[in-house]
């Protein structure tokens, strides 16, 4: 499974889920359909059986009521008494039979009424043959029944007709209260009549059902198969006290039973469920065929659809492989479609473009960094060399007792040390003033001491931190542009104070001053002279303080120039350092 590709997994999942779904739904539907079919089938049997059993009940009730009616007939009682008291010849016997025929009104059924007169041991019937016969009383013992079974018909083999036949019947006594004579009556119905009237129509079907009428004792009392009549049924599970029951029995047979309330007899329907399920099985086979065909179609559809779906993914994968192999120019060809895959391809290409840019940037940064490292190494060598050399010269000047030169070299060394930032990016105002003093000492030597300097540094400003050599370019400008070597009253005044939580530094000169346009015109020269221009100072302030610090230049022609710095008060050297700023970001 793990070795399967995405497409194979997708096809497999689709097929598996679909096949399972179809199989599950088909199975459930088949089961439901089958159960419903069985229920419908049972309902159909139930409804037919109900009708036929009601008909059987009605027939038996009519038989019973007829028998009761005959037994209460005064005419019959009198006929019996008259016969017993007569000579009992043929004519007398015929009267009894005729009277019985007259009383018998059993509708459509060809019923037979029997009268046994124990006093004469004779049996009379309404039949044309055997209308009178001598019989022992033991022959009618079969007519006896339990007291509580008055409505249950008798079922027995009737031998009184000449040919034995199974009959249903009701029996009772008839007594003439006047004479005390009595007789035993039995009204019978032929089993075949009942069968053809009630069961034959039910048996005449194509579903293989077999109907039986069974007594409450389990004897088959009406069936198409006459050889079964009078036989005790082996399976009597239906005699469970339930009025209607359906159960499946061995060999996939269903046994339906309904018990008559009136007679207590059962109407059974035994059917072969395999015949019933044949249609269903054919449906199942058809469903299996449809399932197989559906799966074939599904496989074809799955292969086609997933092929189309998989194509952009495959392109993406191939492009990724090319990139892995080092072809960073490789890009996914966009199809122009507006689907998720197009978005993915577009996003991938954008990502690769971005990565390309980042890589170029990194390469450039690395190159610059390497160059910077090399330069830094060179710069580290040069100042040290110069610094050490200058110190050696300074000591040589001291040894030769040229203190002035030694001091100048000392000032220069301090400035050099500051310029290579040995003391850090930020120094206290006091240290910055010291550097300015060193610088001015050098400049004073250069300009033959033609200017004076004044320092007014407020005590609260002394410990404020400022960027190292912040003032030096401005002081240098003041020296270069503010000093007139032909005058002897040149003055450079440097002040520092704290005002409104801001450190203010001013550098004033009393030189000729300048106009703005002159300042712009002379910018090249100024840069050439000082080495560090105003832009340098401006950029440093911007880098360190952002908008919190700035400087202004006021110049009045003929009166001088004043440069004033405004900075935030800082008592910590790292407060506005670049490193701190980076950490803050």
């Amino acid at each position: 499974m793990n070795k399967m590709g995405f497409r194979q997994k997708m096809i497999a999942a689709m097929l598996l889920l679909t096949a399972l779904g179809i199989l599950f739904i088909s199975g459930m539907s088949y089961m439901q359909f089958r159960n419903q079919s069985v229920r419908n089938y049972v309902d159909s049997i139930d409804s037919q059986a109900s009708i036929q059993l009601n008909k059987f009940d009605a027939t038996m009730k009519e038989t019973y009521l007829n028998m009761i009616k005959v037994s209460c007939s005064e005419d019959l009682k009198k006929t019996i008494s008259d016969y017993i008291d007569s000579e009992r010849d043929f004519q007398d016997g015929q009267k009894v039979s005729d009277q019985m025929k007259e009383l018998l009104t059993m509708g459509k059924y060809n019923s037979t009424l029997y009268l046994y007169i124990p006093k004469t041991s004779e049996m009379f019937s309404t039949q044309d043959y055997y209308s009178r016969q001598k019989l022992d009383r033991s022959n009618i013992l079969i007519w006896r029944k339990k007291q509580d079974e008055a409505f249950k018909p008798l079922f027995f083999m009737n031998y009184f007709t000449g040919s034995a036949e199974y009959v249903f019947g009701y029996a009772c006594t008839v007594t003439d209260e006047k004479t005390g004579y009595e007789g035993y009556l039995c009204l019978t119905l032929n089993e075949r009549q009942i069968y053809y009237d009630l069961l034959a129509a039910l048996n005449n079907n194509t579903n293989g059902e077999e109907y039986f009428l069974v007594t409450d004792k389990g004897l088959v009392c009406s069936s198409e198969k006459t050889e079964l009549l009078g036989c005790l049924r082996k399976d009597r599970s239906f005699m469970n006290g339930s009025r209607m029951s359906v159960s499946s029995v061995e060999n996939r047979q269903m046994l339906y039973s309904m018990q008559s309330h009136y007679t207590g007899y059962y109407l059974l329907c035994q059917s072969d469920m395999r015949i019933l399920s044949q249609t269903l099985d054919n449906s199942l086979r058809l469903a299996a065929g449809v399932l197989f065909f559906s799966l074939i179609v599904l496989i074809f559809a799955a292969v086609t659809i997933t092929g189309q779906m998989y194509s952009p993914i495959q392109t993406l994968v191939e492009t990724m492989h090319r990139i892995q192999e080092g072809d960073f120019e490789a890009r996914v060809s966009e199809t122009g479609m507006n689907d998720e895959f197009a978005t993915m391809a577009h996003g991938f290409n954008d990502l690769m473009d971005h990565i390309d840019q980042l890589m170029d940037h990194i390469i450039q940064e690395r190159t610059e960094k390497r160059e910077a490292e090399i330069n830094a190494l060179q710069y580290q060598i040069r100042p040290h060399f110069m610094y050490n050399t200058l110190n050696s010269i300074r000591f040589a000047a001291q040894l030769q007792r040229n203190q002035k030169l030694a001091d100048l070299l000392g000032d220069f060394t301090e400035l050099l040390e500051a310029s290579i930032q040995r003391k850090g990016a930020f120094v206290t105002m006091q240290e910055e003033i010291e550097l300015v003093k060193h610088f001015l000492a050098l400049q004073a030597f250069r300009y033959f001491e033609c200017f004076e300097t004044e320092f007014e540094v407020a005590p609260e400003a002394e410990n404020c931190y400022v960027p190292c050599l912040l003032m030096q370019p401005m002081v240098e400008n003041a020296v270069f542009h503010g000093i007139d070597t032909t005058r002897n009253d040149n003055l450079i005044r440097i002040k520092a104070w704290v005002e409104d939580s801001l450190l203010r530094i001013s550098i004033e000169d009393n030189g000729d001053g300048f106009r703005q346009e002159e300042a712009e015109k002379d910018s090249f020269d100024k840069r050439r002279l000082t080495g560090i221009g105003l832009n340098n100072v401006k950029n440093r302030l911007q880098l360190y303080y952002g908008d919190l610090a700035f400087f202004t230049i006021d110049s009045v022609t003929g009166k001088g120039t004043t440069v004033q710095f405004t900075l935030p008060v800082s008592h910590a050297p790292e407060e506005f350092s670049i490193k701190r700023e980076v950490e803050r970001i």
């Binding site: 598996l16 399972l20 199989l23 599950f24 088909s26 199975g27 459930m28 088949y30 089961m31 089958r34 159960n35 069985v38 049972v42 009730k61 019973y64 009521l65 009761i68 009616k69 037994s71 209460c72 007291q147 509580d148 079974e149 008055a150 409505f151 009772c172 006290g241 339930s242 009025r243 209607m244 029951s245 359906v246 159960s247 499946s248 996939r252 269903m254 309330h261 009136y262 469920m273 399920s277 199942l284």
Partner: protein, 307 residues
Amino acid sequence: MKKGWKVLMIVLAVGSLLSGCAYTTVSMRREEPRYSIGVVTKADNSPYWLNLESGVREAAEELNVDITFLYPSGEEEAEEQKKIINDLLDSEPDALLIAPCNCRDTRWVAERAAEKDILLMNIDDHSADIKLPYAGSDHVQIGKDAAGYFKELLPEGGNICMLLGPAYQMSCQDRMRGFVDYLDKSFTIAGIKFTNMTQKSGYQAVMSMEAKPAGIFCQNIVVAQGAIIALQEKGWDAKIIIVDTLEDGELVMKRGNIDGVMVQDGYFIGYQAIMSAVEGLQNGGEIEDVRIASGILTPDGIKGEIQ
């Protein structure tokens, strides 16, 4: 999780196969009836009794009750009915409803029923020799209503004859009592004849009358038809009120020979009787009498309430 999915798939597949291929096991049973009730009527040879049987069976179906409905060959066949009742008692139903052919011979039924703990009640007609719960028409009221309607038909009064059923039927006695007690004094009871409910007996009863009656109150349509033939033969004209079903009443009313029908609703009586019997079985045998009022069907329509 993956293992769980695999198991689920396998279970689904096997379940599907099994559910589809497994053979259906059939097993059904019908709810057993709650009670078994025997009903023995006087006969089954008129629309009234057929309607009553319909009402009985309808109620039985509603209440899931087994009914054994039996009857003798005629309303006078008390001996047949006695045998039938005996057989029914032997079969030990939960309740037995009888419309006695002989109202004076029912005590033995009550005794046997009590022995077997069978709830016994009268339907349609009540016993004379013992008091039993009753469900049927209010026969006294039928007599009263008939007498009242005669006053409307014959405001002047006149001779009235009554052609009733057998004298040993309490329904006849009740109708007679209600009729006689309530009949306006402007009327004279010219004769009370007990018939065996046949056309012939109605015919003979009228033929035996010496004076022309102004009105005849008949037991039913069958007796009335005999009476009408006799009246025509004698050239008499009389107002006739009968007691019968609505269907029969409407039929004869269209012919114009009958002036009023005291309607007896057999269906409703049968239905109510079973309802009462089941209620009695449920509450230990206590049953209240159900006496159903009858309306009068006249040529102008129905007066009073018919269920």
